[in-house]
Symmetry: C2
């Protein structure tokens, strides 16, 4: 079982990914983002994205009801269905699902984000949370019948309401539930970079210990990303490959271990 | 088996529908529209809706690639996921699917619409077509496992590409595939009206013969709607109830035969 996490950047080569996935004869699941599309749509609709940074140093998007509307349109709507279409046109029987559908990904809504505003601690509560459980029965039935699940946010909270969640956390949970041996993350860079502004600084191999060290040394959104990566290894021993999603054959390229391999 | 077709109007009471469906202990499927949302989104994004009328008198939306983008956002994205959320929060394990997903609704792309422009016949080809086949295996598995399929456009064409299709045609095809005994159409009117501008002119009972006569006497979009209704009775003998989707309990109201019953 391979889990493919496809980044939501504008320059990700979805067509190349679809072609590669059609040629790959292995059980697989896709989890995708759509942040570039979401940002573009938000801007066009005049809905500004709010990013808050918690007192503990994690940055995250603040998801009010309108932000969830935009998420549904960009992630579960346009990006998900265009990706399903690309796969279908390559002969892959893809089925696009948000975490809400069939309660595929059930989560726990955040109680609130502790933020500092003008020196004071304030609690902001939005529609976001952490994924806690996977509807493994549904996924198994779909996989057994030859479908490729193409999964995205939102997910369902305890009461069935739509909440935003980090795709990294969803991937970690899916890995644990399905005992996936490999996680491929396709991003808008050639791999995990030593220096984010230098594409030639790809770290080709990384141990889990090194990953943990880097997490402690970082901050903000990168810290959260690294934290999610670290969590993957708490619940299993998969191989994680972070590779370029913009090249002609992103999946083939990644499975040939071009990029960063964490083990 | 009851098929619920939920109109895409702004004033449809989705919450009331979700509550009613939660209390209804019968195999069911939902097919929904989102035309008000689509029109609103198109306008906000500056993508104008193009409506063409064929030489044979049928009016339809001309779906170019951008129109399909908007459809994916409005139908498969926002409307579908908010409806799934409402159902999930009522304890109904709804699963939202476009016709593309798992190739649920496979269609045939239109070769082109013959239109008259400035007195000349011209052929316009868009991303639209007719539904031809239902993935009954997938639907059956989902129904057997207790899910409520919540279906919307786009559907897949012969090559897996996303195309627009009339929900009425999809409902007719689903009725035939699943041998549904009842079709409930929830609209923004108290039923089928003798005079479209007079809400008191509901025709409470209509025979199939009367339906056919009315089809011949009408034009444009109404003609197409009536044509789809007529087609339902070509492939089966269900009961069709057209009722108000705006009231407090739209489903209960409809199943109590308030509105128009066609048999």
């Amino acid at each position: 079982m391979i889990i493919f996490k496809i980044g939501g950047g504008q320059s990700i080569n979805l067509k190349g990914i679809a072609e590669d996935l059609a040629a790959l004869n292995e059980p697989k699941i896709v989890v995708h983002g759509a942040n570039a599309l979401r940002d573009e749509l938000s801007e066009k609709l005049g809905i500004s994205k709010k990013v808050v940074t918690s007192v503990s140093g994690y940055a995250s998007v603040f998801s009010d009801s309108k932000a969830i509307d935009v998420m549904m349109m960009a992630y579960a709507g346009l990006r998900n269905k265009r990706l399903v279409e690309l796969l279908q046109s390559q002969g892959v029987n893809a089925i696009g699902l948000s975490g809400l559908d069939g309660c595929l990904i059930q989560g726990q809504r955040n109680r609130g984000i502790r933020v500092k505003e003008n020196g004071k601690i304030k609690i902001l509560r939005d529609f976001s949370g952490k994924p806690r459980a996977v509807n493994k029965t549904l996924l198994t039935v779909l996989l057994e019948q030859g479908y490729l699940p193409v999964i995205t946010v939102p997910i369902a909270d305890e009461n069935g309401f739509a909440i935003n969640s980090e795709n990294d956390d969803i991937v970690a949970l899916l890995q644990s539930a399905l005992q996936a041996t490999t996680i491929v993350q396709l991003i808008e860079a050639p791999g995990f970079l030593e220096n984010p502004s230098d594409p030639d600084s790809v770290i080709s191999r990384l141990t889990i210990r090194e990953l943990r060290m880097r997490e402690q040394q970082s901050a903000g959104r990168i810290k959260r990303k690294l934290h999610a990566l670290v969590k993957i290894f708490e619940n299993g021993k998969p191989r994680v490959i972070i590779a370029d999603g913009r090249v002609e054959h992103p999946v083939k390229n990644a499975l040939n271990k071009k990029g960063t391999v964490i083990q």
